[in-house]
Symmetry: C2
Subunit: 324 residues, 2 copies
């Protein structure tokens, strides 16, 4: 990690565009490619080095041993991985797609020589495209950079370094752990928002006229572009089914209790406890710690930190500084 | 309506305190009573005419033929209605409780001589108590002032006048229509938020660490005081069961589709349509209209306006101005 690696971003929408901006803000040499002529034109007009020629961007990445960041929808991944295999087969590769196991599997199949470390920044916005992107999108956000049993931690530290430079804190969870967690806190919320918006709208103009804070909050993400929500939720099928079954069980129990005894005590008190736990997790005082990335148990230490809700706040040549 | 009626507010928490402040801001003579010594002391310290003696406040209301506003939890209603019957049995009475059929029934049983018009301002805040109250709480909010087949529209216009003075727009729905609508857009959101918070917290510290915008929005109201959420949701049992069954049906269908075909298209597209309908309802251009409150079909006209998502924006001696 003595040299600062160049960065090549594939896909220049909200997330990819923000990665490119953040990498440049951090002083890196960075360039990008995208299929969207609109995004490319908008980025080029601002002076960024971008183009529609994915092969050219990847060949340059191979020449310079750049870090390649895939910021395309899951549905566009296969084509991009074929290009990686052709033009930069051994590149250091990461991605910012919102599910991880399916991406890990596709990379292993389609670009098996790539030195791949999976990633996912937990940041978003209501708008999409290059025009919504900004260098500060990841400031204060959490960015999962996946650690598996066989992960090369030197490469992991390089990907984590990009996330940290972008202003994020890094959570070193495994891909499977990531997918299980985001099914609960990102994909299930999208499904519940869709159901709530549907039931509310079925109440007609009067119900919509009476929608205030709780309905506005509860349906906000239902306004997201349906194809993006579908790609995200359908891509995490197994983990989402688990979370969805828990939700159905709890909601069915609430229904039964309300119909029989009239009490929603168990439902509402458990929800309140959950909300308090979330609030406490966000405001917790954290203590610093140090993980030696050259130690034999480093992967276990990183994954353990993530499981306990901790984050990595800095990486250097031999270790990582965390907080828990 | 030539004279401006005095106002007596019972209950000085977030809503009652805000009604008292708004009535005073509008130039009315207003006073209040509450069981909470804290709320009474805080309001008195600011110079408001308040006390813990409910009987005295109600006797003064009877003497001056004041409008009495009940702003107590549903669980405290019976005791307050007994006091109304004793000290101000024929008063002009309204309330701000979040369900309407149960309140209508209790008033009919416990204070049958009161000239009662049910109400519910769709405004709230995360905090509660007098200290959270402010005169601007209802600015731009919607305030349901119920219209039934036999409602005396002269009295209805007086209650609507208080809501309008407080900065709200008035929705003239029936109590039953109100309860069905708020089950969808207020009570169901609270249940889904509770379930989501529970499922998220069950994912442990890692899941909570990855909770971002969609989880924060989707669980916000789960942080409300459980006893208030219970009073509200349990008090609207029948209508909430209907909304809850629709949600369970949709969520079950989503589960089945995800497990079998892997597609969430129907769920997510319907949710997106609902969110767009909500957004359109809020930003719609409205046309003005006039309803003659002395006309024989005035109640039908008011209820029809509410059913179509319209509001009343002004009342005067003989009519109401609306927008749709």
């Amino acid at each position: 990690m003595a040299r600062v690696r160049n960065v090549c971003v594939v896909g220049l929408g909200l997330i990819g565009g923000s990665v490119l901006r953040a990498a440049c803000r951090a002083g890196r040499t960075a360039w990008g490619a995208a299929a969207s002529t609109e995004d490319v034109a908008a980025a080029a007009a601002e002076g960024f080095e971008v183009g529609e020629d994915l092969g050219a961007a990847l060949r340059k990445a191979a020449e310079r041993d750049a870090l390649v960041v895939l910021a395309v929808p899951l549905t566009a991944l296969d084509g991009v991985l074929a290009a990686v295999r052709e033009h930069a087969p051994r590149c250091l590769l990461t991605d910012v797609i919102s599910v991880k196991r399916p991406v890990v599997d596709r990379v292993a199949e389609l670009a098996p020589q790539a030195r791949y470390v999976a990633g996912h920044p937990m940041a978003g916005a209501a708008r999409s495209g290059w025009h919504a992107a900004h260098a500060g999108l990841f400031d204060g956000a959490v960015w999962v950079v996946c650690v598996e049993r066989h992960t090369n931690l030197e490469l992991w530290a390089e990907v984590a370094g990009l996330a940290l430079e972008a202003g994020a804190e890094v959570v070193p969870a495994s891909a499977t752990e990531h997918d299980a967690a985001v099914a609960r806190v990102s994909h299930l919320p999208h499904l519940l928002a869709a159901v709530l918006a549907t039931v509310g709208a079925k109440g007609g103009p009067l119900a919509l006229a009476l929608g205030a804070g709780s309905f506005t909050d509860g349906t906000r993400v239902a306004a997201s572009r349906p194809e993006l929500t579908r790609a995200m939720t359908e891509g995490n099928r197994e983990a989402l089914l688990t979370a969805l079954d828990e939700a159905l069980g709890l909601l069915g129990a609430a229904r039964g209790a309300l119909a029989s005894t009239g009490s929603l005590r168990a439902t509402i008190e458990a929800g309140h406890e959950g909300a308090m736990a979330f609030s406490a997790a966000r405001s917790a005082e954290r203590a610093g710690l140090r993980i030696d990335l050259t130690a034999p148990d480093a992967v276990t230490a990183l994954q353990g930190l993530a499981q306990q809700g901790g984050r990595i706040t800095a990486v250097d040549g031999t270790g990582a500084t965390g907080s828990l």
